[in-house]
């Protein structure tokens, strides 16, 4: 994969005030101008016409994505700056397809050479330079073409050797209507590094007085990404994505040595969408207190029964068990079964069937900028294949209507609905969620839903029910705590199919009393659980986040994303969902993350 490592933060939106007006737009790109794009197009046309190795197929499709990323990142700890940096780069990526739309090189992973995928990338100058733009286009197209030929040969040979389950009447690549929209999409300028630094220091200073913390940090980001697509099909389109985010993360340790974490994360289009400093310092204080409570909380025991997912907990359930299965792009040929499972696929071939409770419907809308009057960052004008974004009703009254599609179809007559996002080995983009809306009929108030949880638990003869309010996210809470031996052991023993641990979960007793528990882990969540949603709330949670491209295990092994600062890899996403009451799930207690208690007391704090 040669996807760009990008930035951004995520943003749940529980504490958002009414959305303020957007700041005035900033200037267009100084690096990628119409002159530059014309040079790229001119070279594209030459390559399309002349690029050929004798005896090998010519390209039938060439496309370019130009990306300009500009990001300011700051992080702070205990009121002091930890990191403060700007990153700005321009990248040109070429994609070449050889063969024909019926059978081409795409969506195939070359064994032992995943980098051979018909794409090539190069950095462009930070300022307009026509000559370099054309020369760079020439070089990356040449490389991508050579790779595409290798990839096609390997694909044909693999099919001869191992066959394919893919129906012969399903094309490899579908046509799409060219999109032309060359007017720059102007967005508000980034918040300055100094502004972000001031906020990070102010918020993180709140945690100086908090007892029981092992580590904490506060990170803010301001980010924009301009994109341009040019294809031999006639598409010439530009778009700009803009986000700002804040993250507060805290870590403590229970008496038995288990590490406990908590975090607070919010994203919006700009800094104006984020909570105020006053609200954020309040959140930081609350998080600090939560660590003290988690450290004293008992480890969860095994439980089978109803589970209520509230707020961010409901978002987590959607994010980790439903969203990955909404993609309709076939898994690239050549992946191992274990790798293939990371692309979901549980709903493939379920179109027209009931897959959820009849009260539930799911819509994905990349054209939405706001939801429930709060900013959504998962949207765009065009997807990663240059196809115009479309609102898609995925599930209606519990019945699967369609999946989120890219230009690589899984069925005959299937065409893209503008959801190509997540990159996969083999150079394909996978149909993926953007702004995912889950709506429910017959919802009740949150308190009433909690009562329903208790009733359901009682009905099962249980002493308590379980409510989940936040999942862990190793991109945020991964820490460099482990020895080499422990890391190797984790690689061997971690069950990749498990959802992330739950970091805020409670037992709820019949009298309404809540008991915080730690070490809480859900068993694997089968997709059929979505048929067993027995209650929803009228309150809805709007949550923005970056879907990391790495697995939770990878993030845990490498100690989080980007040295524990602002997570800087992932796909801008949003989920809007009510609270969800599931009829039955398996929950167990985990002692994972135990470390020796400190040999020497912390030098500061109470």
């Amino acid at each position: 994969m040669k996807s760009l490592a990008l930035v951004i933060l995520f943003a749940p939106a529980l504490a958002f005030a009414k959305k303020p007006p957007e700041p005035p737009a900033g200037p267009p790109s100084k690096a990628v101008t119409n002159e530059v794009l014309d040079e790229i197009a001119e070279e594209m046309n030459r390559d399309m016409k002349e690029l050929e190795i004798p005896g090998a197929p010519k390209p039938y499709s060439i496309s370019y994505k130009v990306t300009e990323v500009d990001v300011n990142d700051v992080s702070a700890e205990l009121g002091q700056t930890m990191s403060k940096r700007n990153r700005h780069f321009v990248n040109l990526e070429a994609r070449v397809r050889v063969g024909s739309p019926k059978l081409d090189n795409g969506n195939f992973v070359v064994a032992e050479a995943t980098e051979i995928d018909g794409t090539a990338a190069i950095n462009l100058p930070l300022e307009m330079d026509k000559r370099l733009a054309k020369r760079s286009t020439w070089l990356v197209t040449d490389q991508a073409y050579k790779e595409a030929l290798i990839q096609l040969n390997a694909k044909l040979e693999a099919r001869k050797a191992g066959g394919t389950l893919r129906p012969s009447d399903v094309p490899a690549w579908t046509e799409t209507k060219p999109v032309v929209s060359e007017e720059p999409v102007l967005v508000p300028p980034l918040e300055s590094l100094d502004e972000l630094e001031t906020r990070a220091k102010t918020i993180s200073a709140t945690l100086r007085e908090q007892a029981g913390l092992r580590e904490s940090h506060v990170a803010l980001t301001s980010y924009l990404e301009r994109r341009w697509y040019i294809t031999t099909e006639g598409t010439a389109v530009t778009d700009t994505r803009r986000a700002s985010g804040v993250l507060i993360e805290v870590e403590g340790q229970a008496d038995d040595g288990q590490l406990v974490h908590n975090y607070f994360m919010r994203y919006g289009h700009t800094g104006k969408d984020l909570p105020t400093d006053k609200d954020l310092t309040g959140e930081a204080k609350h998080l600090g207190e939560s660590i003290a409570a988690l450290a004293k909380a008992p480890v969860m025991e095994h439980y089978t029964g109803p589970v209520l997912f509230e707020g961010e907990g409901a978002v987590g359930l959607v994010r980790f068990s439903l969203a990955p299965n909404l993609g309709g792009t076939p898994v690239p040929e050549g992946l191992s079964p274990q790798e293939a499972r990371t692309f979901g696929g549980a709903l493939t071939d379920k179109t027209g069937l009931r897959v959820m409770s009849p009260q539930l419907s799911v819509t994905d809308d990349p054209t939405a900028k706001d939801g429930d009057n709060k900013a959504l960052i998962g949207g765009y004008k065009i997807d990663d294949e240059g196809v115009a974004a479309q609102k898609v009703d995925v599930i209606k009254d519990g019945v699967l209507k369609t999946l989120l599609l890219s230009r690589t179809p899984s069925q005959k007559d299937q065409v893209s609905n503008g959801h190509a996002r997540r990159t996969a080995d083999g150079g394909a983009f996978h149909g993926s969620a953007t702004n995912l809306f889950l709506t429910a009929k017959g919802g009740v108030g949150r308190k009433a839903l909690e009562s329903r949880l208790i009733s359901a638990a009682k009905g099962e003869g249980l002493k308590y029910g379980v409510v989940v309010r936040r999942f862990d996210d190793a991109a945020i809470t991964g820490a460099p705590e482990f020895t080499r031996r422990e890391l190797v052991q984790m690689i061997k023993t971690t069950d990749m199919q498990l959802p992330p641990p739950l970091i805020v979960a409670y037992k709820v007793y019949p009298d309404g009393k809540e008991e915080l528990v730690r070490g809480t882990q859900l068993a694997e969540i089968p997709i059929r659980v979505w048929k067993d949603i027995i209650g929803t709330s009228t309150e809805r949670t709007v949550y923005n986040f970056l879907a990391a491209t790495e697995s939770q295990l990878s993030l845990r092994l490498q100690g989080g994303t980007d040295d524990g600062f602002v997570p800087s890899g992932g796909i801008e996403s949003a989920i809007i969902t009510p609270d969800l009451l599931v009829k039955e799930l398996d929950v167990f207690g985990s002692t994972a993350g135990e470390r020796p208690t400190p040999a020497v007391p912390r030098p500061t704090g109470k």
Binding site: R46, L78, L126, L139, F482, R602, T604
Partner: protein, 610 residues
């Protein structure tokens, strides 16, 4: 497979090479007999050379120069207090620490790069990195002892940098020190348990050298250095430079600078307190192209300086551009070389690189006790390994050599030990090693060569390697001697190497004790005196044979400045040497990747045909 490489590419962000330990055969069997050095191969009969030494004039600066006690940062007090607090508390645990070292390096790296006339990189990053070294057990046996069978290095500390806030806030800094100390302490305790278990199963009779050397307490404070440069002016210069570089056959032409401001704060439980601060600057002119057979060809010229103002002016930069572009065009049209064994000349800078790889890495002290290492020179102390007129030393105290600023200057190493000159070869005899705090038989103390990149454990590394020749000839005579040798050996030609891009040397005991260096500019010198540029070759061989094949040296010394990568990361180094006549060198065909040049001609930059 431990190896070390000498890398000279233009590096914005150095990446540490990971050393993957090869399978150890273990030491559980019968105790091997003490190795007896084999007789030296080759003919050591001295070639008649004039008793005129090669010219070396050095300016040195002692470790305690530039002291400015009033510029001491409050950070050091915080570090010292936390270090003492930790040591006192850890002393009461079941596994007390006997050594605790903190090194905090604040680094500002400015990277500017232009390609073909346009700016492509503009970065200015500051980072603070903390390294905590905790030792438990005793200096005789501690947590760092290599296990008899630890193929994947699982007992080694995890490679990572600790994070520390900026500023000098006591609470925030102390908290970060505490957390990293706690993590490293528990890691060390875990490692020591495995070490002890391992030792129980090893043969007791074998005598092991200690794991650690205590060193004198040092106190030295330098004033914080300043990094001063005119960014706009540099951007303009780089644009002009890169525009000039992208011509002829080149498909890539870049010019870049990297400016660094480094300040290191060091305290340890022996009482050492150090604050050192320095800048460095690097200018690179680089061009590249694929030859018609797919070979990647590139030329790189670099200049180093203490500060941006020390880098070359426009006139010198123009010469660098001309050198790389002319060379690249010539290489593009040059024939591929054939395998060859025969006499050769390594010109000054190439000679320096050659010595760095062939000799320098093998003389790093810790390799003499590493059970997976070939320990090439461990049994040669006091014995002849090179011509009698040749001496080699490594001296980090050198600031300039023959008027050129050298890259391996430092006052104190990364283990808190003052830099010392290490005499390595004295008139042909092996007399010493570059030493860190890892003692070896006969060399129980450090000579201030323990170095690292942040995040990695320090090991003995080179600084400024200097090859001295007590007898020398003018370079022109060296070429005449080469031609004579060609005739004597009945070879069609001799080889002259003027530039070597880098290379690697294998020090693992599980592979041949061989080196390979990659010449960029290699010429055949024919008996009639004409030269022919060739490409696609590597020089390979074994170190002992290579050193004893040296027959003559030139009067002129050249210095190669670069950055060297090995298991403790990337460190700045230099290698200064005269041109050398080698009686026999083996040349291999280099690797040519299965690729081909671009199918279509360049759209805007066509190769200029004469």
């Amino acid at each position: 497979m431990p190896f070390a490489s000498y890398a000279f590419p233009y590096m914005r962000k150095p990446f540490a090479l990971v050393v993957v330990a090869a399978c150890s055969g273990g030491a559980g069997g019968k105790s091997p007999a003490k190795p007896v050095p084999p007789p030296l191969p080759g003919n050591l009969a001295a070639t008649e050379l004039p008793n005129i030494p090669a010219k070396i004039e050095v300016v040195t600066s002692a470790p305690t120069d530039a002291s400015a006690p009033d510029k001491k940062s409050p950070l050091l007090d915080v570090m010292k207090a936390e270090n003492e607090r930790e040591m006192a508390a850890l002393a009461k645990t079941g596994t007390p620490a006997y050594y605790l070292g903190y090194q905090l390096v604040e680094q500002r790296i400015v990277s500017l790069e232009a390609e073909g006339g346009a700016l492509v990189t503009d970065q200015d990053d500051v980072a603070r990195n903390l390294d905590v070294e905790v030792r438990v057990g005793s200096p005789e046996l501690d947590n760092t002892r290599q296990l008899a069978d630890d193929t994947n290095g699982l007992n080694a500390p995890l490679t990572r940098r600790g994070d520390v806030p900026f500023g000098d806030d006591k609470e925030a800094i102390a908290s970060a020190l505490w957390l990293e100390t706690d993590r490293r302490y528990h890691e060390a305790v875990s490692a020591l348990n495995y070490v002890k278990q391992d030792q129980q199963t090893l043969q007791k009779a074998k005598k092991y050298d200690p794991d650690f050397a205590h060193e004198p307490t040092e106190t030295h404070i330098e004033a914080p250095a300043k990094l001063e440069f005119d960014k706009a002016q540099w951007v303009d210069r780089l644009k002009r430079c890169s525009k000039g570089a992208l011509k002829g056959a080149a498909t890539r032409g870049t010019c870049g600078v990297v400016f660094q401001l480094n300040t290191s704060y060091f305290v340890n439980s022996e009482g050492t307190v150090l604050q050192t601060s320095w800048t460095n600057a690097q200018l690179s002119v680089s061009v590249g192209v694929k030859a018609d057979d797919g070979m990647n060809l590139s030329r790189l010229e670099q200049r180093f300086g203490v500060a941006p103002k020390d880098l070359p002016g426009d006139g010198e930069v123009d010469k660098m551009i001309k050198t790389v572009t002319d060379d690249l065009d010539a290489l593009h049209d040059a024939p591929l070389a054939e395998p060859y064994v025969g006499p050769a000349i390594l010109q000054g800078r190439a000679s320096g690189v050659f010595f760095h790889e062939v000799f320098g890495h093998r003389i790093e002290g810790h390799r003499q006790k590493d059970t997976t290492s070939g320990q090439t020179f461990a049994s040669y102390v006091g014995k002849d390994i090179a011509p009698e007129w040749l001496s080699v030393y490594d001296n980090p105290e050198i600031e300039t050599l023959n008027g050129i600023q050298v890259n391996g200057f430092y006052r104190f190493d990364d283990e808190g030990v003052r830099a010392h000159k290490a005499q390595l070869i004295d008139h042909g005899k092996l007399v010493g090693f570059d030493m860190g705090r890892n003692p070896i038989a006969g060399f129980p103390h450090s000579n201030g060569h323990g170095r690292r990149s942040p995040g990695l454990p320090p090991v003995a590394r080179q600084g400024n390697l200097v090859v001295e020749a007590a007898k020398s000839v003018e370079y022109a005579d060296l070429e005449k001697m080469l031609i004579e040798e060609v005739k004597k050996q009945h070879r069609p030609y001799g080889m002259v190497f003027t530039d070597i891009s880098g290379g690697f040397t294998n020090t693992s005991a599980f592979a041949p004790q061989a080196f390979k260096v990659n010449p960029v500019m290699a010429y055949r010198l024919y008996p009639d005196g004409h030269k022919e540029l060739v490409r696609g070759i590597d020089i390979s061989g074994t170190p002992l044979v290579a050193l004893q094949s040296i027959r003559a040296a030139s009067r002129q010394i050249e210095t190669f400045n670069g950055v060297c990568g090995a298991e403790s990361g990337w460190v700045p180094v230099s290698a200064s040497a005269p041109s050398l006549l080698i009686e026999k060198l083996e040349i291999e065909k280099g690797f040519i990747p299965p690729d081909r040049p671009p199918i279509l001609t360049a759209p805007a930059i066509q190769k200029e045909k004469p």
